[in-house]
Symmetry: C2
Subunit: 324 residues, 2 copies
């Protein structure tokens, strides 16, 4: 199942948001236009705009208003990706050259700043201060999460709690507020706004865990980047944490991680991947991801039984099972 099939009925509105996204980064500045459109055209699942559109159907659905939420949230997501690629020295993302690889790190940094600024500019079209407060608090957490990620690179002494807080800031929070703000901007009830946040948070946690699993199990073709990218940059993910707590392979795994660290990730990581794939660690991580999906769906209980609710359940299942 593709995410696109799920929201076929919203095709027109999604296409509209897509055009708005392109328009929003428009500038007469040739290079910025090129770098921004390069990013946009590289695609992505547009999960944030889609959940904004769905959650806003629990209130007064008004696309002309909601676009001022959907567009900035996708732009903020994109801006963080460009900055992350600088940090990670990433050359490809989604099978495409990154901005830093096609241009350079400096241009990537300022492209991120520019897209971020454009996101804010779009959001200021909404006058509800609560929206801006939710948005800016989440962005602060997001930037803390980014720097936290660096701090925990190659840290094999980190706990599950560290990992969960990190992926909350890195991924779940932005999806959570996408759901929440769609509802807030449509003037849904406080209870609905809270449930939407809970839904998005849990879906986001599951999403990042799946993402971390796929980096360990996928092929370069499926991922659009080589598998094992996480460990090469020092990112210790959930299956690795589970494997580290298995005394049977802990010593060997620590040595392997240390070997990767000492050469700054410039090495073949297949021995590491074999170790992780060898046990039940992927399965364990998958179980936790499924639990988050269950909680996401639970959060929808008690919401009016409209089509958007069924669509959100489908989105949750898609994310829980996605294999690319």
């Amino acid at each position: 199942m593709k995410l696109l099939d799920i929201y076929a009925r919203m095709k027109k509105d999604i296409a509209f948001v897509e055009r708005e996204l392109e328009d929003s980064v428009y500038t007469e500045h040739a290079m910025l236009k090129e770098t921004s459109l390069h990013l946009l055209k590289a695609g992505g699942k547009r999960i944030r705009p889609v959940v904004v559109l769905l959650s806003s159907q629990f209130g007064q659905y008004d696309l002309q208003r909601i676009k001022h939420i959907a567009v900035p949230l996708e732009l903020i997501h994109m801006a963080t990706l460009v900055h992350d690629d600088v940090i990670d020295d990433a050359d490809t993302r989604r099978g495409q050259q990154t901005v830093r690889a096609k241009w350079d790190n400096r241009i990537a940094m300022y492209t991120g700043d520019y897209i971020f600024a454009k996101a804010l500019m779009v959001a200021t079209q909404l006058s509800n201060p609560r929206i801006h407060q939710i948005l800016s608090s989440a962005i602060v957490e997001l930037t803390i999460g980014e720097i936290e990620q660096i701090r925990y690179f190659f840290r094999t002494d980190q706990t599950l709690r560290h990992y969960l807080l990190r992926i909350k800031r890195k991924t779940a929070l932005l999806i959570a507020i996408s759901c929440q703000l769609g509802a807030v901007a449509s003037e849904a009830t406080d209870d609905i706004c809270r449930r939407m946040y809970q839904f998005g948070y849990n879906v986001g946690m599951a999403y990042q865990i799946r993402d971390d699993i796929l980096d360990l199990t996928g092929t370069e073709k499926e991922l659009g980047k080589p598998p094992g990218s996480d460990i090469r940059q020092g990112n210790i993910t959930l299956p690795v944490l589970y494997a580290l707590s298995d005394t049977g392979i802990r010593r060997e795994l620590l040595d392997e991680i240390e070997r990767v660290r000492l050469v700054d990730g410039q090495t073949d990581v297949s021995p590491f991947l074999r170790l992780i794939r060898g046990g039940t660690y992927i399965k364990q991580a998958d179980n936790l991801s499924s639990r988050y999906i269950d909680r996401a769906i639970e959060a929808l209980n008690g919401l009016p039984d409209i089509r958007a609710k069924q669509d959100l359940i489908k989105v949750a299942h898609f994310i829980g099972n996605r294999s690319y």
Copy 2:
């Protein structure tokens, strides 16, 4: 004359803003707190908060409201400085180690993102959408200016117009909206808001021209960084443009700039500095700076004759004459 003497009467309010600045970047995250406070403590003239405080005296002066303008504008300025230092590979600023030198480029990038996010968070305390629209549009221009600066590095074919547009985006715009938003947030009349923008814009242009002159004439001790930093990173400033239009030295100057460019600025630039200091180019640039100061003061004509007006005139003169 020091800027501090000018606003001695506002000492208490400025100290208050200073504390608010520190509070605003507070986080339990040890490293981000350290990098942010390192930046704040490195000082700076706090021109943006000061003009916010002054301009807001043309309306209903309310420090509790105005701080939500003064603090973000200084934070945004700081965030751009950290990112600029990454681009410029700068090791010192204001005689202090830069974040990128003391930590690293990645941490500097995310510290900039974090401070920027905090700036937004503070600004969202104000509910007037016009404020947010002015702020976000200026930030977009600012980021375009940053990338423009890179594009024009070592470009000796650029015109005066390129230079002026660049310093407008880089410096003048943020000072202009500091003045404007102080007035807007205090509900001053539209005419006053417009005049304040004009004042800030012209002061900002003069400020950056002075800054560019000082980089050519100052000593390392005065500047807190070595003179000639601009040309080493490829930044062609106003006196250099004037010198390039002097056929008597143009050839020699082009060769010298090319020599600096070929070694990525890793060279002694004293021959370049001698060439520029030798003619009347600094004087010419100084004249243009003075014209901007005159226009800034003209913009204040017709404003009510309160003490803030006299203070703004003093700020303008200070900026026109500053030698550090």
